[in-house]
């Protein structure tokens, strides 16, 4: 199938007049840099890649594309897990990679103003130098951009105590579809002045506007943390322990679940980490506490210890040295890579109220048995956010193609019946649209579609995402 072409010579000349030639790229078969992200095996080549460096350049590009009805797909670092940055309808891939300045770290107000192309870990390190903390860090923190994090309302392991991206975004500079530039709110912690456009933009996956600056809230960096790796010989019991920890009055700064295969495969994948795991262990919880008083943290760990023991845990690995803590977190952060390096896979980003995790994991295994697929589960259990990696392994192509969607549909139906939803932190992008009707009725979806029309009447911003899959895989 041939895609519609949107660009003319005049258009290309216009873009070259706005940004210098080397920042206008017409990709060919030798350049797939902008055709992929980290989502499974998707490949969509944009017609043209534009790399503006200023808000004004973004504005001019959008005004032109809006007038000429050219699709514009904003792109961060390409670390997304739902295909959100892929130009599924062709047209322009708008890369924010050159807008990567940390504009101002305002220590007196505990705020930072950044451009969207700043790498999350670069931001974290820069503010940590001043004793400050920007908590939300997806596993890809070393490469992903703040802009992409905002577009997807990303989470990460710290969310359980500190919240997700939306909880840190105070104000956004946004270029609208027609090129108009607005700020969504004010640089304040409390705001009851009109509708919350800031929160409407966060998580909207680049479909309502292009974020060109963000004012983020910072907090004092906690001085200490301690990490525990807790094995369980029953994965449902591990999940039950999760909500018990919170009910015990503890709010850990990390509470991760890893099924046996997840940790085994990560150990294999890394090659340089050794963790003693007994044969009968089905799952682990990785638990971190942080704060400014070490005595309090030791007390918290003792309390956690006494709670997890009630759920039949094995011998706890307790890490207080930074090498050992880093190693455990490295293991956790590499689970996804490890799983993905093993097999063709499909990842689901389910989230439920945390006490429903035992029901969710039991259901996932039952559905897998019914349709003949294997899953490896891990994720931010403290938030109820379970990543379900369905691995193809030896499964035949026919079953994979025909049975898998039925199984995924049942998983999502289960999730919604547990008062959860279909994406906790990855977004819908172009891979989960077909399941949106499980989470939302037509009434809800129409409200969202009509909000989209208010912001982007010509439908140029990231078309084919969230709602309607109006394109063909090719």
């Amino acid at each position: 199938m041939t895609r519609k072409r949107y660009l003319t010579d005049d258009g290309i000349a216009f873009f070259r007049s706005v940004i210098s030639d080397e920042n206008v790229i017409i990709p060919d078969e030798n350049n797939a840099d902008y055709a992929k992200d980290e989502t499974e095996d998707l490949f969509f080549q944009p017609e043209i890649v534009l790399k503006p460096a200023t808000t004004d350049e973004v504005s001019k590009i959008l005004a032109y594309c809006n007038d000429n009805k050219i699709p514009v797909t904003p792109r961060g670092a390409g670390t997304g897990l739902a295909g959100g940055s892929l130009a599924v309808n062709g047209g322009v891939s708008l890369s924010l990679e050159r807008m990567n300045a940390i504009i101002n770290i305002d220590e007196s107000n505990l705020q930072v103003t950044v451009e969207p192309g700043v790498i999350t870990e670069v931001l974290q390190d820069a503010v940590k130098d001043k004793g400050l903390f920007y908590p939300p860090d997806p596993s890809s923190k070393g490469t992903c951009f703040i802009g992409g994090n905002i577009a997807n309302n990303s989470g990460g392991p710290k969310a359980v105590k500190y919240g997700v991206v939306k909880d840190y975004v105070l104000n956004l500079e946004v270029v609208l579809a027609n090129g108009d530039v607005i700020w969504t709110g004010a640089n304040v912690l409390k705001n009851s002045t009109g509708y919350n456009l800031t929160q409407l933009l966060v998580g909207s996956e680049g479909t309502l506007g292009i974020v060109t600056k963000a004012v983020l809230r910072l907090i004092p960096h906690p001085a200490y943390n301690l990490v525990m790796l807790v094995p369980f010989n029953n994965m449902e019991r591990a999940c039950e322990a999760v909500s018990a920890i919170f009910m015990g009055g503890i709010t850990p700064s990390g509470l991760e679940f890893m099924e046996r295969d997840a940790i085994d495969w990560a150990v294999d994948y890394l090659g340089d980490v050794t963790i003693p795991i007994e044969d009968n262990i089905e799952a682990h919880l990785l638990i971190e506490v942080d704060g400014n008083d070490m005595d309090v943290l030791y007390k918290d760990c003792e309390k956690i210890n006494s709670i997890v023991e009630q759920f039949g845990c094995g011998e706890i690995l307790f890490a207080d040295g930074s090498d050992q803590k880093d190693e455990l977190w490295k293991l956790r952060r590499n689970v996804a890579h490890a799983v993905k390096s093993r097999s063709i896979y499909k990842e689901e980003d389910t989230v439920v109220p945390r006490a429903e995790l035992p029901k969710l994991i039991r259901g996932v295994k039952e559905i897998g048995n019914k349709y003949g697929f294997k899953s490896v589960c891990y994720g931010h259990a403290g938030d109820g956010n379970l990543h379900i990696n369905i691995v193809k392994g030896d499964l035949d192509d026919e079953t994979w193609k025909n049975e898998l969607p039925k199984g995924i549909k049942e998983i999502f139906e289960l999730v919604v019946s547990l008062k959860g939803t279909i994406s906790g932190e990855h977004g819908i992008g172009c891979v989960q649209q077909e399941y949106m009707h499980i989470a939302f009725s037509k009434i809800q979806l129409d409200l969202m579609r009509n909000v989209k029309k208010v912001f982007d009447p010509n439908g140029i911003l990231n078309p084919g995402k969230i709602f309607d899959r109006n394109y063909t895989k090719y």
Copy 2:
């Protein structure tokens, strides 16, 4: 001026068929219960008051009003400070007072499901019995409703550490203008599934839909707190101390500012509280720290002590007994009543980044001098949220009427120049609309107006609020 009448005998009969007769009230001159709130001297009599008890009843009422283009003004406890619950265009006052059930306290998920008519303090007490905490509590917590708190994205003194209402709302059941009922999201801590309708509804002042159920996040209740009252002989220095405390790595659970008159008048108003205040004191900070370890709290207080000393504070009153702490908070909570009992007044709910507070308070006093009015300032300084009460006192009516609006405009221009905005927690309602253009451009306001049209094409929901003052005071 005569207002348009919207109701017919058929309409009244319809409402009586949906809800029982005693819950349909046609108010007359002897019944002003639904014509006022706590906003200055506003008075708008609704044509009819309806008190539904179920979501289904709300749905039927809205569907009828939408079909017949009858204005519907939702009403909580009537404690609002911006006239948001007043039926400025007549029509229906929809009181949610009978929908006051705490439906479920879910201890295993740290969530509570409530109806909108639950009194905030009743909710706080109910969850505290289970060791849980719902932090956002406006000064009116003993009478205000959760529904009104959600409509206004209320704050209160705990917001400085724990955030505002929006940070606790996970999911809302909402009746739309046409009677359709939706949930805005899911009962989860993380959500990247479509647009954030939940956050769009929070703070929308009943203009987008009527909240009929809310799922709120809870946290473990902190075990202890300590309170300090810190006097300063210079109010700007008091404001400077505020951001210094945060920069010192402390996040207090309360950080309130009270100008001298505020505390003096509150002492007079209450009559039963005695606080020693030296003659040269211009302002106080009321500071609370909380947590689960008393030793840590004492250390925090020592640290705060050493910080505020650098800003020339006087002798600190330190409260660790519950009577003394209650007395200090009672004082703070009664400042507004005290100020309002003294004089005709106009209250502004400004918010700026907290380090800008000294500039704000200096500017407010200068603007007051320029136009000849006196102000008494107090508020949630830790959030940068300063309530400016302009008191009429002996000012002549002419100056009050003609000069005051100019002064308020200048205050808001100052606030916005400091990257703040015109309402931190009270909302815009029907008293601040004329200043919205200072905070927002036409582009931003048009986006909001068009979002409103998506949700409420006939404009029946709380007309005359937030945007356009399409009514006459009568």
